[in-house]
Symmetry: C2
Subunit: 137 residues, 2 copies
């Protein structure tokens, strides 16, 4: 997708951005669609996909290419890391300091022009581990 300097501020885009900003849950495109549809019942899923993609390309939001089958979106563009529960699939932020220096290390140890990095932890969230205990009993 292209960076279009003349990107119009449409109602759909405003509301997508507002709704994404309200949550910390890193929703999938379909979840954003459901949230937005409460306010704009006639919006199309294609519009949601197109605009999330466009905003991600323009650095307004973050597209997370994490584990699981669907892409997720995040209104927080400042660098940070994520943790995914292997049991329920939910993705959360994790408050670990960002390692700025490893990009330099990576540049030295590879033939690539490094653009960035992302860390994804995997684990079991507290909600799922208490469920697990209940099942065992």
């Amino acid at each position: 997708m292209q960076l279009t300097p003349q990107m119009r501020l449409t109602t759909q885009r405003q509301i997508i951005l507002e709704e994404l900003g309200k949550v910390t849950s890193h929703p999938t495109a379909n979840e954003v669609y459901d949230m937005v549809r409460k306010r704009l019942p006639r919006i199309g899923l294609g519009t949601v996909y197109r605009n999330l993609e466009l905003m991600a390309d323009n650095g307004i939001i973050l597209k997370l290419e994490v584990g699981g089958t669907q892409k997720r979106f995040d209104a927080t563009v400042a660098p940070h890391y994520h943790i995914r529960c292997v049991s329920c699939g939910k993705v959360n932020d994790i408050e670990i300091p960002v390692m700025e220096d490893i990009n330099k290390t990576a540049a030295e140890l590879s033939q690539y022009q490094i653009l960035g990095h992302h860390i994804e932890f995997s684990g079991i969230c507290s909600a799922c581990s208490s469920e697990e205990k209940q099942l065992v009993n």
Copy 2:
């Protein structure tokens, strides 16, 4: 998918594993299918998916949930990190020492039971950056 202790050694499984072991390119399921089909022309894509999934669950291979639309598979199960070219989409290993300690840090700073982590760098590979130069000229 389940861990079945009585997992049979079929021709299909042997060949999938052999072919995956031959390459360092982290192929997608479809690419594995193409490789395997040269030796087993009647194998089904479903069989490839089923077996890659099964082997990943048993720790025989690694399933990479990296950027891009498709999952990728890796015969090297020892912990290591990856780098993806944002231009051509290829995924390579990157020889950066694995940080074992950050799992502990993550456990302290979160409510999760940490199982592991993965780092994915993004950048532009040397092949793509030389192409880029040619296009500019």
